[in-house]
């Protein structure tokens, strides 16, 4: 039986790796068109893996980010991202994939937040603060018992340059699952984000949608762990959606812009961190923030447009 599962696992893993390698080859053809100076770093295998990871993370975070921003779940995103830490530490100790431990502890904490909220008089924001700091503290305590903490530093702050093929395969699979789920439940998620009361009035289970969306958020956070780390992942869940919401009032365009912002910050951040030899996670988030600032300036309601409008309608020079 074990042999069968090992064989099955191996088969699946090999096919995922094949898909990734094909996509990477395709990507390299495209990169071949870029100026040599820009394309050069991507001749390294680790940079190719890092680029693939950034693309996946940028896309998935871009999509989920819209729901986080619209549902005002920024704090929840922060909560879950901190809550994955004990799972990461325990998985590291037990020698199981970090991503599995992270998902389990993130999911448990989101359920815990819901439980505290429903069964005590404590309000949502306090319930979140309570549960995620407790989980994070547990993570810190467990980590302090582990001697070599460099790996865990990477979990905290991300190290996309160190992603190996098994990690990339896991990120790729988790990201793919997240996107498929959004595709199938798009209608329900949008309705829930806009008017949860109407959703329950027409007989959809809002509890199911709520926890489904929370688990999806956890999955996305886990996907991004290797790239930007626990502390900074919430930026990837807020910045793309917030930037897109400044520029459009149309949800499909908002998701498209958000994905573009996510992918741009992840890839440009990766490139800059390589050539300047600085931390990748921080660089990615900073690029995203710069995009946000630019969008805020040029947005329809932004200062640049209103300045232009004022200049145009200002009393003209007398003829």
């Amino acid at each position: 039986m074990t042999v069968f599962y090992n064989g099955l696992y191996h088969g699946i893993y090999t096919s995922i790796v094949t898909v990734i390698e094909m996509l990477t080859a395709l990507l390299m053809v495209l990169i071949g068109f870029l100026p040599a100076a820009v394309a050069e770093p991507f001749s390294y295998l680790f940079m190719q893996r890092a680029l693939m990871t950034s693309l996946v993370v940028g896309t998935v975070c871009g999509v989920l980010s819209c729901f986080v921003v619209l549902k005002r779940w920024a704090l929840l995103g922060d909560a879950i991202s901190h809550a994955v830490l004990p799972g990461v530490a325990l998985a590291y100790l037990a020698g199981i994939p970090v991503i599995v431990g992270a998902f389990l502890s993130g999911a448990l904490t989101s359920l815990g937040i819901g439980f505290v909220q429903r069964n005590t008089s404590i309000k949502e924001d306090s319930a979140m603060g309570l549960m995620f700091t407790a989980a994070f503290a547990l993570g810190v305590v467990i980590i302090s018992r582990i001697a070599t903490s460099t790996h865990l530093m990477h979990v905290l702050f991300g190290n996309v340059l160190g992603v190996d093929m098994p990690m990339l395969a896991t990120t790729f699979t988790a990201g793919f699952i997240a996107l498929v789920l959004v595709f199938f439940f798009y209608k329900e998620f949008v309705l829930y984000a806009f008017d949860a009361v109407h959703a329950s009035a027409i007989g959809l289970s809002t509890t199911a949608i709520h926890y489904g969306l929370m688990l999806l958020l956890t999955l996305t956070i886990v996907t991004s762990l290797e790239t930007v780390g626990v502390i900074l992942v919430v930026a990837m869940l807020i910045v793309p959606g917030a930037t897109a919401s400044l520029l459009t009032r149309h949800l499909p365009s908002m998701i498209a812009i958000s994905v573009a912002v996510g992918v741009t910050s992840a890839t440009v951040g990766l490139y800059l961190s390589f050539v300047m030899n600085v931390a990748s996670g921080g660089t990615i988030v900073l690029v995203g923030f710069c995009l946000f600032v630019v969008a805020a300036l040029v947005a329809p309601a932004g200062p640049l447009r209103s300045w232009l409008r004022r200049a145009r309608t200002a009393p003209g020079v007398p003829a």
Partner: protein
Amino acid sequence: MTTEHAPSIPALAISDLTVAYHETPVLWDISLTVPAGSITGVVGPNGAGKSTLIKTIMGIVPPAGGEIRLFGGLSGKERRRVGYVPQRASVDWDFPATVLDVVLMGCYGRLGWFRRPRRGDLERAREALETLGITNLEHRPISELSGGQQQRTFLARALLQDADLYLMDEPFQGVDATTERAIAGVMRRMQGEGKTLVVVHHNLETVETYFDSLIMLNVRLIAQGPVAEVFTEQSLRATYGGGFP
């Protein structure tokens, strides 16, 4: 499936309903019936529990006690035949959606999980927009609507829901005379199609024009029945207290 009912079965029958958010009940021992095919008004001062009553019927707020029968049934199954038009302020109008997107949400309940609106749904949505006189707003982002246009959008969504009983929370709130006439016209039209409407209302001057039947509420039920019988100075004073002239 048929929407016809023996006239003896009321669309809504509530007995001994009590609702409390915390310790003090906001609705106390309410028993009432809404005849099928009627337009029934719900009046009472701010905080009387009108919205709470509607939310309890919709299953959004759990009751502390009592019984709610929809079309004679007790299960949640009948709730599918109930449409809910919430108070306008209950959603975020900055949400990136167009008027058509919101109206189409009316058919999501019928569609169920996974399925997307199809051509037929789109046609019905356009009909609903036309009925409410907002065809020209189809592709307008909802963040750019006036209060009256928002209300018409909500009503168009309700039309698409194809319910038999509609619960409307202050559909006339903050709309101008034209929109008020348009909404009242749509209500009458819905009644003509055999629908039952329960409408929370504030303007006492128009009660007699719009409603056949009335529920007067102030935590407890003050009076209910045909407007001509219950809309009296005595019951108004009992509902609105000493503040009523």
